[in-house]
């Protein structure tokens, strides 16, 4: 068997290279899909509300500042379970950062109320702890944010020249919070004023400095219906309907989705042709041996079974080696780009299983095709062709 496998080493290597390329493409696609899905799950879990007017901060809702009085009004709307004032602002306001999809954000949360997002009741912490009511100058950072700056719990972070203590690092979620720095609401208000000093000239109460609010709804209610009720009954606010925001998010990433489908289809075609061609060539290369076996009495079924088993073994070995190669390279690349707060490859279980299944199925199909050609040959002809 080991000698047989050695004989197939070139074939296994050829398949491995093809499957590695395919798996790497798939891992990049998985990464982007997870990012978009995570965002979609987030926006479907809450109603995002901002004040009327033009945007001052950033986040999921366009609009102006949301005064405290409006937050109280929203809380009284029937069906609303909770309202959490928030301040969201870009860490770096330079144009180059602002134009990226993976912008680093500062998120200030009112810790005196529970997080209303139904799909993210709490952000999972990998190390340290999450923020607590009463915390000041404390920050919990996302996984990419932390790895880009080598931050750990107990570390220091400077935001707008102010020192912050890192109290926790979030688990890698492969979506927006990976690039968040989460701080108490009061600290975020300070940072907002520091970034936009013109706000100091406005006659605003401190509690009015909110770029938006996350609104939760009661279990028996429909989020879209509650959002429309808020828009109808609370004047002077911008309300996003969760399902509409999800649609907007999906359409804004439609280009990437189409690109991924195209890359994936191309990868499947190229990888599939390469794999099936390699397996078929490997079978035809052993045509002499199969001729000998026919001469010794092997029936179509016996010979076909042998070829199929060998082809499946070779395809799966090549597939597994390809997946392993892609994972090793992907992990190395991820480790390298993590220093810049990036994470390029996601090797999900469905991707790994899919790549192995793909190898086995295409290897099997190629082997069946090659076998159907081989068994039709008279043994003497097969031996002559393989000589």
């Amino acid at each position: 068997m080991s000698r047989l496998l050695r004989g197939y080493a070139f074939t296994v290597t050829g398949i491995a290279v093809g499957v590695a390329g395919l798996t790497a493409l798939g891992a990049m696609a998985e990464r982007i899909v997870r990012f978009v899905d995570g965002g979609d799950r987030f926006v479907r879990g809450q109603i995002s509300v901002a004040g009327q007017g033009l945007g001052l901060g950033t986040g999921f809702t366009g609009g102006g500042l949301l005064p405290a009085a409006k937050i109280r009004e929203i809380a009284r709307v029937p069906g609303v379970a909770g309202v959490q004032a928030q301040v969201m602002l870009p860490l770096d306001t330079s144009t180059s950062q602002f134009l990226t999809l993976t912008q680093e954000l500062i998120l200030g949360l009112d810790l005196s109320v529970p997080t209303p997002n139904r799909n993210y009741r709490e952000l999972p912490v990998a190390a340290g702890r999450f923020l607590r009511p009463g915390d000041r100058r404390a920050v919990v950072v996302g996984a990419d944010f932390a790895s880009a700056r080598s931050l750990r719990p107990g570390g220091r972070l400077s935001l707008e020249g102010r020192p912050y203590m890192v109290v926790g690092v979030l688990e890698r979620m492969l979506t927006a919070p990976d690039r968040f720095a989460v701080v108490p609401l009061e600290d975020a208000r300070e940072l907002l004023l520091a970034k936009d000093p013109i706000l100091l000239n406005l006659t605003l109460g401190r509690g009015d400095l909110n770029t938006g609010a996350a609104v939760g709804w009661l279990p028996a209610e429909d989020g879209d219906a509650v959002a429309r009720r808020i828009a109808r009954t609370v004047p002077g606010v911008n309300v996003t309907i969760p399902s509409e925001l999800s649609r907007v998010l999906r359409s804004s990433t439609a280009f990437f989705s189409a690109l991924l489908v195209g890359i994936g289809a191309l990868g499947l075609v190229i990888g599939g042709l390469s794999l099936s061609n390699t397996v078929a060539a490997a079978v035809f290369e052993r045509i002499r041996d199969f001729g000998i076996k026919r001469a010794l009495g092997a029936s179509d079924r016996q010979l076909g079974g042998e070829i199929l088993r060998e082809a499946l073994g070779v395809s799966l070995a090549g597939g597994a080696a390809g997946v392993a190669l892609a994972v090793v390279l992907g992990v190395a690349v991820n480790a390298h780009v993590a220093r810049r707060g990036q994470h390029l490859f996601l090797f999900s279980p469905r991707l790994v299983v899919g790549a192995l299944l793909f190898s086995a199925v295409l290897g099997g199909v190629a082997a069946i095709y090659a076998t159907s050609r081989v068994v039709r040959l008279p043994p003497a002809e097969a031996i002559r062709r393989g000589a």
Binding site: R3, L4, G7, R288, D289, I292, K293, R294, A295, L296, G297, A298, S299, D300, Q302, V375, P378, P379, A380, E381, I383, A387
Partner: protein, 220 residues
Amino acid sequence: MLRAVGLVKSFAGLHGARVRVLAGVDLAVAPGEYVVITGASGSGKSTLLNLVGLLEDPDAGEVWLADRPLSHASRGEKSRARGRLIGYVFQSFLLVASLTALDNVCLAARYVGGDRAAARRRALGLLEQFGVAHRRDHYPPQLSGGEQQRVAYCRAMLNDPPLLLADEPTGNLDAEQAGAIREALRRRARSGGAVVVVGHRPEPTQDADRVLTLTEGVLK
């Protein structure tokens, strides 16, 4: 045991022309008979052996084995006949390079069913008998030509086939080893097996019950 009637075979030559190798060969070999077929190189001896061994189909004519016409039988029937009725020693041995000498011999039993352990014991006995048991775990490229030929002979004998076809079976052996193979072929015939040997060297003919010559596509 073996009856061939009117076998015709031609191959494609240069510029699409057909080259007729066999032009109506008749051959009958009874159980216990040892027949040697001689002829010049390229006279069609190996082609004739391929046809009667069901390794390829004649353009015309019929091969009967154990009273069954098989030239135009299904692939399955031919496979069964090759496995159960015929032992074949090829001119170029045709051992499978990825299998050891012992596994090459056992390969003959794989496709005919039966007890694999018993087949393995028989294979070891044959390798012992022909002096290559010490090389049983070696692969064909690690064996000399003579050793490969003896392994090929052991493989042909493993299923105790009623018809043994051998293409130049002593071609790569020294005098002593060639003598052992010829003696084995004689024993095979004496024990009731039909033996057909082709060769262009004169030595095998001294043991034969009949010597036929293939010339201009027919047996004389």
